[in-house]
């Protein structure tokens, strides 16, 4: 296993089931998943989330055009979700794919620890730069949504 490029951790006052739902249910996703750029149209990740299935990172601008695509590697509700991550143009070239893992663990005091690990990003330096700024925003939004029912003020993802 290669060394992860980024590891992001957030503690959320919720249940593992709700975190899992937020990762796979587009109705929840559309409320917090902001894009990798600052002017964010909001995104949803679409798949049936079965191992081997394709998933697509689609903007909610109505274009239906996937920005990121990949394959579900591991899907173990409500604890672990792993998928590959690639530009649509590199979908057939596995040497350029990176990998994202979500680990959901119950923690003390009614908190859930969500860890996002992104590996093999050095295969695409431009993607590395974009992704490193995007994940903290997505996770902050997710935490706020699950704890308060609302996203952070100033976030444009509630369109």
């Amino acid at each position: 296993m290669t060394k992860p490029d980024f590891v992001y951790v957030t503690y959320i006052a919720t249940t593992p089931e709700k975190v899992w739902q937020a990762l796979v249910d587009t109705d929840v996703m559309r409320q917090y998943w902001c894009g990798l750029s600052t002017d964010c149209p909001g995104y949803v990740n679409v798949s049936d989330w079965q191992p081997g299935s394709r998933w697509e990172h689609q903007p909610m601008d109505g274009s239906g055009e996937a920005r990121i695509v990949g394959t579900v590697i591991e899907s173990r509700a409500p604890r672990r979700l792993v998928y590959t991550w690639a530009r649509p143009t590199d979908a057939e070239d596995a040497s350029k794919h990176s990998q994202v893992a979500f680990d959901i663990e119950p923690h003390t005091d009614g908190l859930v620890r969500l860890t996002v690990t992104h590996t093999d990003l050095e295969r695409d330096p431009e993607m590395l730069a974009g992704v490193s700024g995007g994940w903290p925003k997505v996770l902050s939004n997710l935490k706020t949504l699950l704890e308060t029912g609302q996203v952070l003020p100033g976030s444009p993802s509630r369109v």
């Binding site: 060394k3 992860p4 980024f6 590891v7 992001y8 994940w135 902050s140 952070l152 976030s155």
Partner: protein, 110 residues
């Protein structure tokens, strides 16, 4: 202590900020590699890392027997979101670029 208190307390020490700078430069380092750049004992570095981990500013990943330390920017992002509005970002970014340009790259990062 609240989560945000832990973050500010962890950031209130130049040695711990130096550790975060080292991880920002090269993420996923072991204790021994970090110690090479720190002018303090291994025990002191360990304690600083534990405090950063308690504040969730550092995340630890085990790979086999190697304990890797990662900068976790999520709490910093929450602070940023709390006090910096979306319309201020561009202006603050421009101001930051100007300051960096005028002061050169060698300005004090601590």
């Amino acid at each position: 202590m609240s989560d945000i208190d832990k973050v500010f307390k962890a950031l209130a020490d130049p040695g711990r900020r130096r550790l975060l700078d080292l991880l920002h430069h090269d993420n996923g380092q072991m204790l021994s590699a970090l110690c090479e750049h720190m002018d303090m004992t291994r025990q002191a570095v360990t304690q600083h890392l534990q405090q950063l981990e308690a504040a969730n500013l550092v995340a630890v990943v085990w790979q086999g027997r190697e304990k890797l330390h990662y900068l976790n920017p999520v709490p910093l992002h929450e602070i940023h979101e709390r006090w910096i509005g979306k319309f201020e970002r561009a202006r603050l970014g421009a101001l930051h670029d100007l300051k960096t340009k005028l002061e050169g790259d060698g300005h004090d990062k601590t």
